[in-house]
């Protein structure tokens, strides 16, 4: 139990450090990785949109199947 808490505290305290590291990474090489993040957001947004459209169409297909 004790060791569990120790791991937990280490994890909790290292999160900001990790975040710091991530941010340093994103800022490295002239902030190029922030461009990558922007492109990822763009891609994910379109993917979510398509996923929702997919579900809508599945619902319609089921409706048609039920009617037949």
């Amino acid at each position: 139990m004790n060791s569990f808490f120790r791991v937990l505290t280490v994890c909790l305290f290292s999160t900001p450090l990790l975040a710091q590291g991530a941010e340093d990474f994103l800022r490295s090489t002239g902030k190029i990785y922030s461009v990558v993040v922007v492109i990822c957001i763009l891609f994910l947004g379109i993917a979510v949109f398509l996923y929702r459209l997919d579900r809508k169409i599945t619902k319609l297909e089921n409706q048609i199947k039920h009617e037949q």
Partner: protein
């Protein structure tokens, strides 16, 4: 039976061209290198009459490869000081020594000099406000011999295509293709949506409402993505996710208005009235958007281009190399938006068919 408007363009060619153009923007926008620039200069202050040795850190520079490295400190186009000795420590580090003259051509407390670097690999590039020189107490009228003028210097020009280097933006200048273009595509899609809303109110054809709402939905998705990408970009340039910037807040309001549009659509049960009222609201919202996004930000300072002294698009911010990718990006995102709206339109038409059967 409602007659279908011919918004559906058949064929795969335009979808393929959208993808190809987007791929071109993605690959080109990421692979074209950034031009040379200066990231840091130490020291940044000096006193007139001193000898200073500037240690210059460059970005995308080739200091060791270059044979003819030259550096000038520039006051204005007629007054430059040439470095008397230059030593490159590495590709990205350079030491340049200058003798600052006692006398300056104009009277001021502090002179702001920009640094001009030139070599045959990187061409000529300028770091504005590189060195602040405080004047000596005695200012003589006679100019000492260090000052040279621009005319007899032959600068190199960099070969190949590259994006301009901006000191805070750095590589994120590429976000122009993915963030700024998103807003332009959003406005094009909103405009199509409003045109169909007007068409619906004039003709009362339910299909036009389907088209209008689909385009608005995709445009709102673009708007949300624009806010998200913009806030990521802001984090890495202005160091905050959300600023009090007027354009940012006004677009947030614009999004709120259009989200209210979907609340309105969701609340109505009756198809005909929903179509009519949401078409009316969308036209009204679009007219409300015009003062919102374009006029009000001009009243106050903004970090965005085109406001409060920042150069607008078409000025220095958007050079020809950026344009090579910026306009195609708008076209590609618009085509992809058209495609997505068409998928929505087709789904909603099928739904309408089922309901009216």
């Amino acid at each position: 039976m409602t007659n279908k408007s011919s918004i559906l363009i058949n064929g795969i060619w335009w979808k393929a061209s959208g993808i190809i153009i987007f791929l071109y923007v993605l690959i080109g926008g990421m692979l074209v290198p950034l031009g040379p620039g200066v990231t840091a200069i130490t020291p940044s202050n000096a006193v007139a009459g001193d000898t200073v040795v500037l240690e210059i850190s460059g970005y995308n520079t080739h200091f060791t490869d270059a044979q003819n490295c030259n550096a000038w400190l520039k006051l204005d186009s007629n007054h430059l000081i040439k470095a008397y000795s230059i030593r490159s420590l590495s590709q990205k580090k350079l030491k340049a020594a200058f003798v600052l003259p006692d006398s300056f051509p104009s009277v001021a407390q502090v002179y702001t000099l920009s640094l001009v670097l030139d070599n045959e690999f990187d061409g000529v590039f300028i770091q504005p406000a590189a060195l602040f020189v405080s004047a000596k107490t005695v200012i003589s009228d006679a100019l000492s011999g260090e000052w040279k003028n621009n005319f007899d210097i032959v600068f190199h020009e960099r070969q190949g295509i590259f994006f301009p280097y901006r000191s805070i933006l750095n590589e994120t200048i590429r976000n122009t293709f993915f963030h700024v273009a998103l807003w332009f595509a959003m406005f094009i899609l909103l405009l199509i949506g409003v045109v169909y809303a007007i068409k619906y109110l004039r003709k009362g054809n339910y299909d036009d409402d389907i088209i209008s709402s689909s385009f608005t939905a995709v445009a709102v998705m673009y708007g949300v993505l624009g806010i998200l990408t913009g806030s990521v970009w802001a984090k890495f340039t202005w160091n905050t996710f959300w600023t009090n910037d007027v354009k940012l807040n006004m677009t947030a309001v614009a999004l709120l208005i259009y989200l209210a549009y979907f609340v309105l659509r969701g609340m109505h049960q009756d198809q005909d009235r929903r179509a009519k009222f949401s078409a009316g609201f969308s036209i009204f919202a679009f007219t409300a958007l015009i003062p919102l996004v374009f006029v009000i930000p001009r009243l106050t300072d903004s970090l965005h281009p085109g406001n409060g002294g920042n150069p607008a698009l078409g000025g220095e911010d958007l050079d020809n190399t950026l344009r090579m990718f910026f306009y195609p990006s708008i076209i590609a995102l618009t085509i992809m938006g058209l495609w997505m709206s068409q998928l929505m339109i087709r789904a909603m038409r099928i739904k309408d068919n089922i309901l009216t059967r």
